[in-house]
């Protein structure tokens, strides 16, 4: 009995987990506040505002920001998306084909186009007319941009579809075949529709990725009516020697990408609930 205060004393002196956590959190706040104060004190706010958020320059971006730049970004992204969707599905079916050479072709394609930087593909597209004399990508820069996005996007979309196709239980094909459907008929009526439904959320994310990658059209050396958001912002920034148009272009991307991101996670959640 007499010993008890002695043993309790050092126990109290040592920090309880709760106390430790409080101190740790306190330190984190201090670091944050110091960093903020440093930024506020040392940043040249006037100059920053002048260069990145100048209202007059932002005003100069309108209305072409939406009527030309955003419209073109959407044309490139949607075009590239349709290309990737169709080619991705074909590639995924080839990847899962019983015919070995089809599998090889699909694997080689997917590995190459996922492994290369998208920028490199765009740079190569510029040289296509040299490599294939007389060949011209239809629809001008639109065609070139959509081709570049489609080549890259289809490699990723193929893997998305492959996962979806493999997630359809084997019993589905067996039920279809037992009703007398051919292998192709079973794929088309039973397996592919289920796979497509399953991959809607990752496919939405793929679309967001394409929307951002459409900025690479910049490297196709486009001009005038073909410019998309990034090129538009960059050109206007050079003209005014001011970064505000790039900021404005960035905000316009977010206007589209953030809601789509939320949509994708909503769809993901709904799928989870339906299980």
């Amino acid at each position: 009995m007499a010993d008890q205060p002695k043993t309790a004393e050092p126990a109290r002196a040592r920090l309880s987990p709760r106390k430790k956590q409080q101190i740790s959190r306190g330190i984190q706040y201090v670091v944050l506040i110091v960093a903020l104060v440093a930024v506020v004190l040392y940043a040249d706010w006037g100059s920053l505002a002048q260069n990145f958020a100048k209202p007059e320059v932002a005003g100069a971006a309108l209305p072409e920001l939406f009527t030309v730049a955003l419209r073109n970004t959407i044309i490139y992204a949607v075009g590239g998306f349709i290309f990737s969707f169709v080619a991705g599905l074909v590639l995924a079916l080839m990847r899962l084909s019983q015919v070995r050479p089809y599998r090889w072709i699909a694997i080689v394609y997917i590995e190459i186009f996922r492994g290369l930087p998208a920028l490199l593909i765009f740079l190569l597209i510029v040289f296509l007319p040299l490599a294939l004399p007389g060949f011209e990508v239809p629809f001008g820069t639109y065609g070139q941009g959509i081709l570049g996005l489609g080549l890259v996007g289809s490699a990723y979309q193929a893997e998305v579809f492959r996962a979806g196709l493999q997630a359809v239980p084997k019993g589905q094909t067996e039920a279809a075949r037992s009703l007398g459907m051919s292998a192709t008929r079973a794929q088309v009526t039973v397996v592919i529709p289920q796979a497509v439904r399953m991959v809607i959320p990752p496919t939405t994310n793929q679309f967001v990725a394409l929307l951002k990658d459409s900025s690479l059209v910049l490297f196709l050396g486009v001009s005038g009516e073909y410019v998309e958001l990034a090129k538009f912002g960059n050109d206007l920034a050079s003209e005014h020697a001011n970064a505000t148009p790039i900021m404005v272009a960035g905000l316009t991307y977010l206007l589209v990408t953030i809601p789509l991101g939320y949509l994708a996670s909503r769809l993901e959640g709904r799928k989870g609930r339906n299980r």
Binding site: A175, S178, L179, G180, R185
Partner: protein
């Protein structure tokens, strides 16, 4: 008379694993044959060899006198006449009950929409789920799903039906509804090959019961005899385990 189903020296290997070791079996038109046996004895594989969901390694399969195992045969055309019901139902989850029953009629038998719908409704009514036409499979109980699956097979006007443990995935209180439908089919004269653990059903409905173990047919005879008075020790041991599981 041609047999509805005839298996001759049927062998099936999965790699090194010999699952069917020479099966000879015939089912006559209008007969109901129940296949019983322990898990892993090759019952499902046997059933799946009849409509070539599994390709036999050796031996021959005839359905209504046509050799199914002939490589030149149009297997899709033959499968149209063989209904199959699976343990896991395998309804198409993206289609309503009605669409499930219509789709193969339209795509395989090339029936028009109208006709396919009439036939589908008839068959859904027949199995007692006529009120669930517009429900998706996910909204139905297991017993209802399995009855839709039976309707889906029946809508193709099959000459015979294969059932692979149709009630094994069901909650006990739902088993009866499915067995009632199967009993009705048997009474109408449908040729049926049924893998099942429902000994009561086998005893009352089957014309013959086949006991399989280790990839061979161990015993084949009248239900009362095979279930009530088995000749083989293996059959007796299996039935004892099934009928007195708690011992």
């Amino acid at each position: 008379m041609t047999h509805a189903i005839e298996l001759r020296d049927l062998h099936k290997h999965f790699g090194r694993n010999e699952v069917l070791k020479g099966i000879d079996l015939a089912v006559e038109p209008g007969q109901v044959v129940c296949v019983i046996g322990p898990s892993g004895s090759g019952k499902s594989t046997l059933l799946r060899c009849v409509n070539l969901l599994e390709q036999p390694t050796r031996g021959k399969v005839f359905v209504s006198g046509v050799e199914v195992t002939d490589p030149d045969v149009d297997i899709d055309a033959i499968r149209r006449h063989i209904g199959m019901v699976f343990q896991q139902f395998n309804l198409f989850p993206h289609m309503t009950a009605l669409q499930n029953v219509m789709i193969a009629q339209q795509r395989v038998l090339k029936r028009g929409r109208r006709e396919a719908e009439v036939v589908a409704r008839e068959n859904l009514d027949k199995v007692g789920v006529g009120a669930k036409c517009d429900a998706l499979p996910g909204q139905l109980s297991g017993g209802q799903q399995q009855r839709v699956a039976i309707a889906r097979a029946l809508a193709m006007n099959p000459d015979l039906m294969l059932f692979d443990e149709p009630t094994s995935a069901l909650d006990p209180e739902l088993v009866g509804d499915v067995l009632t439908v199967m009993r009705k089919l048997a009474e109408e004269g449908m040729t049926m090959l049924v893998v099942t653990h429902e000994m009561g059903f086998a005893r009352e409905v089957a014309d013959r019961v086949v006991f399989m173990d280790g990839g061979v047919v161990v015993e084949d005879g009248e239900p009362a005899q095979v279930i009530g008075d088995p000749r083989q020790e293996r059959t007796r041991a299996f039935l004892h385990r099934v009928l007195h599981p708690e011992e």
